[in-house]
């Protein structure tokens, strides 16, 4: 089972309303060996998360149809609270990072982001979650 899981490509969902940034992230993540899904707003993001159960979500904070922070809350209510969410924003509003971290964000990046640091952080988070017993249970439960 474990060996099998190691061969599964991990999926990352990008929730980002700027198509250029979404594309740049997708190119970068696919090159690093991830499967990528993209959503242009919060509602679509939650729907894709429910349908595909990604291993990690990268979400912008200012989004049409519900800000990124509320996406995290909705995921939690839908029982997907254990999918790590990495927030990313071009805003420098004081207190935004604190609010995101309080909501249980796995990481927080300001735009423009450093791609190396982003990839490193994502790998760390996915490895950590994959070794977590509850994540195994979650994965098995949804394996169709």
């Amino acid at each position: 089972m474990t060996t099998y899981e190691h061969h599964i490509r991990k999926t990352i969902l990008i929730i980002e309303d700027d198509p250029k940034t979404a594309k740049a992230l997708a190119v970068r993540l696919e090159a690093a060996g991830y499967d990528v899904l993209t959503a242009a707003d919060g509602v679509q993001g939650v729907r894709l998360a429910l349908d595909h159960r990604p291993d990690l979500i990268i979400s912008d904070i200012w989004l049409p149809a519900g800000i990124g922070l509320s996406v995290a809350q909705r995921l939690k209510r839908a029982g997907l609270g254990n999918i790590p969410v990495v927030f990313m924003t071009a805003s420098k509003l004081p207190g935004l990072k604190e609010a995101a971290m309080q909501l249980g964000a796995a990481a927080y990046f300001e735009k423009p982001y450093d791609p190396e640091a982003l990839l490193r952080t994502i790998t760390e988070i996915i490895d950590r979650t994959a070794n977590h017993p509850s994540a195994h249970a979650q994965k098995q439960g949804i394996a169709v």
Partner: protein, 532 residues
């Protein structure tokens, strides 16, 4: 206004024709130019009151057809502020008191005509004084309302500016992010192999993106400083560790330019309270400038140690072997939007906010930043940070309409505090809006907005900020007014800068023992206060 000369209109109610003539003659001799209009009964009296304006009313107290008190009641109703004098053949003390209670200004006995003119003059003066007071009060209310409005406007404008810059920066950074990232993607070979030249050119493009990003952050910070919204997060940490980390990030850039960059740290430095992100910004800015203005083969040294003068300050020095800065530019490099000229041309790098932000950030930490430079040999940018939080410099706002005193006090205070000055109340409130002071030194007598009104606004908007009232008028009306907005510390003028600074040190820590509170039973005697 002099009632004696200009046309003074007196309405005279008298049913006795002889008495009326007598009064008219008396007034025309003693008060030339005054116009006396005589009425005989209450009906005429009431018509006269309704149809014209009078400066003064004279009325007989007892008449067969009517009673003087009825006339008084009517006058009080129709023209409450016009002085009203009773004339009476005989008036007992009781009736006199009764008439005054009913609103008469004064009364004169007919058998003492010599009192008439002085009584009229006094009544007119009283009326004039009252009118002036009422006008003053009205004006005060109006000024206060205007002030409140302008305060609200300022606050709203500040918020709008903040909002605008936040939105602008967000909107500009979004395309910048994808541009920079696609450049990185191509540089990392994710879109196929590149040759050296392509890599070099893309590197330049990416650097441009980074400059743009840094520039936007600087703009946002400058706006926050201007609107007093920049808050520091103080935590004790090691400056030298931070400096080494910041310097390490410049390694590749230094290597590209063939510059040697090294750090020298004095051993045994204590942890000091500072905002790590902001001090990193300062050091990074200084090192980045040094890299920019030093030619290949040069050397940049970052020293961290105690200040030479005192172990209560830590000093960071960033020195380079660059082109140096001309004497006339040295004072101005920290100014907002100032750009150093290299030869004939502006170097074109940055909008001139970097060093301004450095200075403001260091000052917010209670420190100081300065420059030592020899043109052609190099520059050293130095800044100091207080080792303990107690040493953080407080912001003192001096409000006084005397420019000489302002200059003298701010020169003296600058050794210890961050000083700002205001020449009147309105300016003071503007300064407070820009950045609330830790201590306010307030004069009472000022043109425009005076001390009490200014203090009232300060209390309303900034609550219990420590205020020292510094005045030559420790008694009188303004003092009574200002007591409404107590507590404050009172110092009589003239007071030496040294003594003032002692008191500022005390009040900024809430330690003042001689605070004036309204209705406070233990208020120290003014003599003692005066000596303070």
């Amino acid at each position: 206004m002099n009632y004696m000369q200009s046309s003074l209109r007196i309405l005279h109610l008298e049913d006795n024709a002889d008495d009326a003539k007598l009064i008219r003659r008396k007034l025309s001799t003693d008060m030339p130019g005054c116009e006396v209009h005589h009425v005989e009964n209450e009906e005429q009296f009431s018509k006269a009151l309704e149809s014209s304006h009078w400066n003064l009313i004279l009325a007989d107290y007892s008449m067969p057809s009517s009673h003087g008190l009825d006339a008084l009641a009517l006058a009080r109703q129709l023209c409450p502020s016009t002085p009203f004098l009773f004339l009476s053949g005989m008036m007992g003390e009781e009736t006199a008191v009764e008439s005054l209670k009913a609103g008469a200004t004064d009364y004169v006995l007919k058998d003492r005509p010599a009192r008439l003119v002085p009584a009229i003059r006094r009544a007119l003066e009283l009326a004039e004084a009252r009118e002036r007071r009422e006008q003053d009060e009205e004006q005060m209310v109006r000024i206060q309302a205007e002030l409140q409005k302008s305060n609200e406007d300022l606050r709203r404008r500040n918020a709008e500016i903040q909002n605008f810059y936040h939105t602008l920066s967000h909107e500009l950074k979004t395309p910048l992010t994808s541009a920079r990232e696609f450049i990185s993607i191509v540089m990392d070979g994710l879109a196929g192999p590149l040759n050296e030249t392509q890599l070099e050119y893309l590197g330049i493009a990416k650097e441009g993106c980074d400059q743009l990003g840094a520039c936007m952050n600087d703009l946002l910070d400058a706006t926050r400083l201007d609107t007093g919204k920049l808050r520091l997060d103080f935590k004790p940490a090691a400056v030298e560790v931070l400096a080494q980390r910041v310097v390490a990030a410049f390694g590749p850039a230094a290597a590209r330019k063939q510059l040697s960059v090294r750090t020298e740290v004095q051993p045994g430095l204590p942890k000091v309270p500072f905002d790590e992100h902001r001090i990193a910004q300062v050091i990074s800015n200084l090192v980045s400038n040094a890299l920019k203005y030093t030619s290949s083969g040069g050397e940049i040294v970052i020293k961290v140690g105690f200040a030479s003068s005192t172990s209560e300050l830590l000093q960071v020095t960033v020195s380079d072997t660059g082109c140096g800065i001309a004497k006339e530019d040295q004072e101005r490099v920290f100014d907002r939007l100032y750009q150093v000229r290299a030869g004939d041309a502006v170097t074109g790098q940055g909008v001139g906010l970097g060093l301004y932000l450095c200075r403001e950030l260091v000052q917010l930490h209670g420190g100081r930043i300065w420059l030592e430079s020899t043109p052609g040999k190099g520059s050293a940018f130095c800044f100091v940070l207080p080792v303990t939080q107690q040493l953080l410099r407080s912001n003192v706002l001096i409000v006084d309409d005397d420019p000489v005193l302002l200059e003298m006090l701010s020169a003296a205070f600058q050794t210890e505090f961050n000083v700002r000055t205001a020449r009147d109340g309105l300016e003071a409130l503007k300064e407070m809006n820009r950045q609330a002071a830790d201590v306010v030194l307030l004069d009472l007598v000022m043109p425009g907005l005076d001390g009490p009104t200014t203090l009232k606004e300060i209390r309303k908007n900034w609550g219990a900020v420590p205020v020292i009232v510094h005045t030559g008028h420790v008694e009188g009306e303004l003092m009574d007014q200002v007591l409404t907005f107590s507590p404050f510390t009172l110092l009589g003028k003239p007071c030496s800068p040294k003594r003032l600074m002692e008191v500022i040190r005390k009040v900024e820590h809430g330690m003042d023992t001689a605070m004036w509170k309204k209705n406070h039973h233990n208020v120290p005697k003014p003599e003692f206060q005066h000596k303070l």
